[in-house]
């Protein structure tokens, strides 16, 4: 009997001590531990993010992929890419495969080739519970988020740069458009025209399409310069084909007279071209900021509890036209060092 009582007493004391201890620790927790860390880690852990750009073979896509991979893997997610290689059908196929595959992604990051093609597919993805983030090229589709350039504003920046370059010259501008289906081309055009409306003395003398191909860009620019020898600025809608326009300007011996304005990913080639006078101005994508925006919205969506397809957020990247005069050592990013892990 005595032994029993003693044991009970000891047990009571131990229990009490334990209880006091637990309460103390709990109180400690509230004071020193971040309440966000645990739900953050739980919401993000193991989440799959799949990036499907128009192609993996150009600077911007490789830059986005390098940044996102770095970020996603560091918050405990899984990151994958698919490469449709500029083929719209392959692109659609890749989206279909991903959303109907065994391991569905949680976030689909899509770089659309035009305004409409994938609307149905992306709607299906949202129905399956997948967040859809559009990047770079907007669509006529309510995605959960859009991260990229405000192409209309980008066009305005280009036009302003061209207007500035034409000071004291002929006021004739030539455009080399991309194609007639891509939002980046259509909105860019509208933005340019909006600025030129405010400068009625300026005139767009030709606006051919390059189909994003440098050889075509070269041929149409050559013809444009011959038909309108007084052109003072050419706006080419992408640095990927502006090499063609620049070759045409050089052939015509008009490097000093014609300012070439374009837009691009801001990789080191852009800075080199600004430095040697190939480009007069480039509206560059600030890749690091843009990729961080993508990462931030992905993390937000995954924690928000918002159902896919019920909200739309636009995050436009801050952009400016860079000329040789305001070129800084940090103006451009270097793909090679990025892929080697230097962020």
């Amino acid at each position: 009997m005595k032994l029993k009582r003693m044991l009970a007493a000891i047990a009571l004391v131990l229990l009490g001590a334990l209880a006091v201890n637990t309460v103390a620790t709990a109180a400690d927790d509230v004071g020193t531990q971040d309440p966000g860390a645990k739900p953050y880690a739980e919401a993000l852990k193991g989440k799959r993010v799949v990036l499907i750009p128009m192609a993996m073979g150009f600077d911007l896509a490789q830059g986005w992929a390098a940044y996102l991979k770095h970020e996603v893997e560091n918050w405990g997610g899984v990151f994958e890419t698919r490469d449709p290689n500029w083929d719209v059908n392959a692109h659609a196929q890749a989206i279909t495969d991903v959303i109907s595959g065994a391991q569905k992604p949680d976030v689909l990051v899509i770089h659309s080739p035009d305004l409409n093609s994938f609307s149905k597919l992306l709607k299906k993805a949202q129905k399956e519970g997948i967040y859809v983030v559009l990047i770079d090229n907007p669509m006529n589709f309510p995605a959960d988020a859009f991260v990229g350039s405000n192409w209309y504003h980008l066009g305005e920046l280009e036009a302003e740069a061209a207007v500035k370059a034409c000071e004291g010259k002929s006021k004739q501008i030539g455009l080399v458009q991309g194609d007639a289906a891509n939002a980046s081309s259509i909105y860019q055009y509208n933005g340019i025209m909006n600025v030129l409306k405010q400068h009625p003395d300026f005139k767009v003398v030709a606006e051919p399409f390059s189909n994003w191909d440098p050889t075509t860009s070269r041929n149409v620019t050559t013809t444009m310069l011959q038909q309108n020898p007084d052109i003072c600025a050419v706006i080419d809608f992408w640095d990927g084909d502006a090499t063609g326009a620049s070759a045409a300007i050089k052939d015509a011996g008009k490097t000093d007279q014609v300012a070439l304005v374009t837009t691009g990913g801001g990789e080191t080639v852009d800075c080199k071209a600004l430095e040697d006078g190939t480009f007069y101005a480039v509206v560059m994508t600030e890749l690091a900021g843009q990729s961080r925006d993508m990462n931030a919205i992905i993390k937000f969506l995954l924690q928000s509890g918002v159902k896919p397809g019920t909200s739309t957020t636009y995050i436009y990247t801050l952009e400016k036209a860079t000329t040789k005069a305001d070129l800084k050592p940090t103006s451009c990013w270097d793909l090679k060092s990025l892929q080697a892990g230097a962020f």
Binding site: G57, Q62, W212, A247
Partner: protein
Amino acid sequence: MASIKFFRNLTQERIVFGLALAVFIACAFTLNGFLATDNLIAIVRSVSVLGILAVGMGIVIIGRGIDLSAVAIMAMSVAWYLQMLQSGVPGGQALALTLAGVVAIGLINGFMVAYADVPAIFATLASGAFVYGFCRSQLVHQDATPVPQGNWIEGLEQIPDWFDQAVHIPLAAIPVEVFFFSSFAFVAFLFLRFTKWGHYVYLMGDNFMAARNMGIPVRPMTVLRYVISALIAFSAGILTAASLHSINVRVVNSTLLYDVILVVVIGGIGLSGGKGGMRNVIVGALLIGIMLNGMTIIDIPNIYQNLIKATILLVAIVVDSLVNPRDEQTAQQGDI
């Protein structure tokens, strides 16, 4: 009688030449600045690379074949070469490797067609896709590969002074592409017209079995044609890189290959082989050049340009089959 004679003389080449002339005159009258010397030079230059590719394609088609891998070889070989230079492979070694690769693809094409009896259209379609896929995934890391500064390719941009002085003609005003296009066409013309092997190409294209019975080494000759075509494609790629300071492999997915066939067929080299020559390539290239230039001056959107080109190709093919009916005796299965 006279009218029958007129129609009999109406070869496709003449039709196209007449057409080119008509378009030219129409453009000259209606479009301002079309006749300017610079514009005329630009017309020829814009079709030079196309024309060089068409020279290679012409040689293959005359011998009754087709090379659908030409554009893939053109872009991928040069992209690989530039990629090697970027990653520090010595210039000579890189060039030797690239040339070996180009010749190898030509040999593979030739062997598949000549020895394995695979129809040329399938063999080269497959090898072109393979070349693109393999190089793009294994050897070339991005679409656009720049020419390194100070590379010899940059020197190709202009005809060098020493050459200018040596031939005593002021060639500097002529774009180097035009110069190369004419040289390639001229050498190919000499090959087809004045060498034994050139004659073999025609004989094989006209009647393959008869050529074989005559004792012509038809299989090695077939292989030779595909190797020549691959090497010409490589040269066209080098020239593209010289003018744009980079090569973009997206060109493989463009309509360039069809444009090459367009030039050849429209110029009057029958797809059934044995007919035509370099003159047809030049006439075809000029018509395309004049049309593209005219359409650009009037600012016709790209999609309509493609539509117009496609319509002309259709008409050319129909005219081709009317003017050069298939020969029941020599036509065989697997012909293109």
